[in-house]
């Protein structure tokens, strides 16, 4: 069925501002398929059920809204760690600023350069996990990404990566509009930590497809911030094999519009998927976590832990689903989404969902929205801790469950320090 006229207009308007990469080598069929999907679905509008809480207009517009550049005045995240940095400036790869991508057990190539070589493993994933993730809920902006991505990285991990790979996204142009698409394959028993940081562009559309083979482990930590004007829509599509592990944590500080979608399918028995986020925002901050976890195999575990701290009229959104397919017995599913509202102007909009077709499962979900606990605040103050410091201590304790999802202590400490610094700057 054709999309309604308004939607078609928006879609064609956006498509007309983009150049379809005809010389895209082996990715061409996937891109053509994705373009057809975009046209069939149409880009999202505010009336779509899935976009009820987040207005996608600035994400689907032909041109991006300008975003002022921001100088954070602090060191870049993860900069004290030994890692392989791959730097993109407004979505364009910067070889000079990047490290030599040679890393034992890891093959790294750029999408823009790899299209002319026939990389079989990536061909089986590029646009494939995204296309699969379009049901039961459509994600047209991800299909748009597959069709038009200008670059990205292809990472194949065959063993234990000796150090993390760090994708760094710098933002240097006030009107940049970046579309990046990464493909990651962890072969059987492989292990990789992927770090991402940086505002990326005035408008950023990113897709990451992650295929985790049997017994492999993927650890993902990203920070988004602190530029306030940036807009971003990101999708992570993950497919998990037997006894594999997928763990993803995102810290978001500031951002006028961020929509992070994470679509995970547990296809092998005994797989584990954790996805977590800690977001702090002020004023026109709008942050949306949209998660869809499908249990397709037995004895798998999934956890969704999302915490948001909102002040001065900020908005937080959470749409999370656990779908347990018939036969996915012994599923252990957990979902929690909470917001801490530091004033009465801020709002949290949540839609937690469970859909279960197996009879021997344990799934729980909870969603709350609350203010600082006055009893706890008084207790701390009565011991001499000043109000501002006591409030921040309680905010960090609220975020703790999400932060604890980060396994590596040095990263956990760094994230904690950055959140504490944000709170210190925004002390009420």
């Amino acid at each position: 069925m054709a999309a309604p006229q308004v939607r078609q207009d928006v879609t064609e308007g956006r498509l007309s501002a983009l150049a379809f990469p005809q010389a895209a080598g082996w990715t061409l069929p996937a891109r053509q398929g994705a373009l057809a999907r975009v046209r069939a679905m149409g880009l999202p509008g505010r009336r779509d059920e899935y976009w009820r809480f987040t207005d996608p207009a600035t994400l689907t517009a032909a041109e991006p809204q300008a975003a002022r550049l921001f100088e954070p005045g602090e060191s870049a995240p993860f900069s004290t760690m030994d890692r392989v940095q791959l730097v993109f400036v407004d979505g364009v790869f910067d070889a000079g600023a990047s490290d030599d991508p040679a890393l034992a057990g890891v093959e790294i190539s750029r999408l823009a350069e790899a299209q002319d070589q026939d990389i079989h493993w990536a061909r089986d994933i590029y646009g494939v996990l995204e296309a699969h993730g379009q049901t039961p809920v459509e994600r047209p902006l991800a299909a748009l990404n597959t069709a038009f991505a200008t670059d990205g990285v292809l990472i194949r991990v065959t063993g234990q990566a000796s150090k993390p790979v760090n994708l760094v996204y710098l933002h240097c142009s006030e009107t940049s509009d970046a579309i990046l698409h990464h493909v990651i394959r962890l072969e059987q028993g492989a292990d990789l930590t992927l770090l991402e940081n940086g505002p990326a562009a005035a408008r950023f559309n990113k897709v990451m497809e992650v295929d985790v083979a049997d017994g492999a482990a993927f650890h993902h930590v990203r920070t988004q911030g602190r530029d306030h004007d940036r807009r971003a829509v990101t999708h992570v599509f993950a497919r998990l094999g037997e006894s594999s592990t997928f763990k993803s944590f995102t810290m978001t500080a500031n951002g006028i519009l961020t929509r992070n979608e994470c679509i995970i399918e547990l296809t092998g028995d005994n797989a584990v998927a954790h996805v977590a986020g800690a977001a702090v925002g002020d004023g026109t901050f709008h942050h949306d976590d949209t998660v869809f976890v499908t249990h397709d195999a037995e004895n798998c575990e999934s956890r969704q832990v999302f915490k948001k701290v909102l002040r001065n009229g900020a908005t937080g959104v959470f749409q999370g689903k656990i779908l347990v397919q018939p036969g996915a017995q012994k599923t252990d599913g957990y979902q929690i989404s909470q917001s801490l509202l530091l004033d009465e102007d801020s709002q949290f909009l949540a839609k937690p969902e469970l859909e279960i077709y197996a009879d021997d499962v344990a799934c729980s979900h909870g969603s709350t929205s609350g203010a600082i606990d006055e009893e706890a605040l008084f207790y701390l103050r009565s011991r001499g801790v000043p109000k501002g410091e006591a409030t921040n201590l309680l905010v960090l304790s609220f975020l703790a469950e999400a932060i604890e999802e980060i396994e590596r202590e040095e990263i956990r400490e760094e994230i904690l320090d950055r959140l504490a610094a944000w709170l210190e700057r925004h002390r009420s």
């Binding site: 207790y379 103050r381 009565s382 011991r383 001499g384 801790v385 000043p386 410091e389 201590l393 304790s397």
Partner: protein
């Protein structure tokens, strides 16, 4: 040490007077006890002195070592040397007990213009004092009061008191929910802190705590006022005859 004069307090939300002219002076080195029936205003007095929201002082004053307590924020009162051991210590998930203690100790030192306590000294001090109160290392690691039994919570209050070294300690129904052994432990902790330059105000409903923390002065509070003052034997009189006789006598 602590001088309370003609203190009148009502609930902020409703026009209900609770304290109706309390006069009380606690001298340095002394332990005063306040006893009284439920609803007499004992706990309200402790909350008002420590600066809890929800109360309005309509008349009178309270000074700690000459400083006007009622004009200060709760954290300023703490830095000035006031400590309240809560009747119901608050559980704070996600904040480690050690982090909490260290933050509190150093916040007070900072407020008084003193050097912060370094990590090693702090750890040594906490361990020594925790050992005296039979608080094990595991309890120190847990979030504040989370999963603590009633007795553990009260011991944790005394540990905080020991670490913060306040000048004026108020104990609000510290004996509630304690068995005899736990009460003895808590009382030993308090007695160890008795010193010539520290005052205590022990609020309790029953006399039994005062067997272990022997007071210098006992006050009976009723209907928002101190109606009788005496020595330690006054507590025994309450224990034997109840409050009714005393209240009838002063009415």
């Amino acid at each position: 040490m602590l001088n309370i004069k003609n203190l009148h307090v009502k609930l902020e939300e409703e026009d209900k007077p609770i304290l109706k002219g309390v006069d009380l002076t606690v001298e340095a080195g002394k332990v005063h006890a306040i006893m009284g029936p439920n609803g007499s205003g004992k706990s309200t007095l402790s909350y008002v002195l420590s600066g809890r929201d929800g109360y309005e002082v309509t008349d009178g004053s309270a000074h700690l070592r000459g400083a006007d307590l009622l004009g200060m924020d709760p954290e300023e009162r703490a830095a000035a040397g006031l400590f309240l051991a809560f009747q119901y210590p608050v559980e704070i998930p996600g904040v480690g007990n050690m982090t909490f203690l260290r933050t509190a100790v150093n916040a007070q030192r900072k407020a008084r213009g003193e050097e912060e306590m370094d990590a090693a000294t702090f750890l040594k001090e906490v361990r020594a004092r925790a050992r005296d109160l039979q608080i094990d290392a595991e309890m120190l690691k847990r979030p504040v009061n989370m999963g603590f039994s009633g007795g553990e919570k009260k011991r944790n209050e005394i540990l905080q008191m020991a670490m913060l070294e306040p000048r004026m300690c108020i104990l609000d129904e510290t004996d509630s929910g304690l068995d005899v052994d736990a009460m003895k432990l808590v009382a030993d902790g308090v007695n160890a802190l008795r010193s010539p330059d520290r005052g205590f105000l022990v609020i309790t409903h029953y006399q039994r705590l005062l067997d272990h923390i022997v007071p210098d002065v006992v006050h009976i509070m009723a209907d928002g006022r101190i109606v009788k003052t005496g020595g330690a034997d006054l507590a025994l009189e309450v224990e034997q005859n109840g409050y009714a006789d005393i209240l009838a006598e002063v009415a």
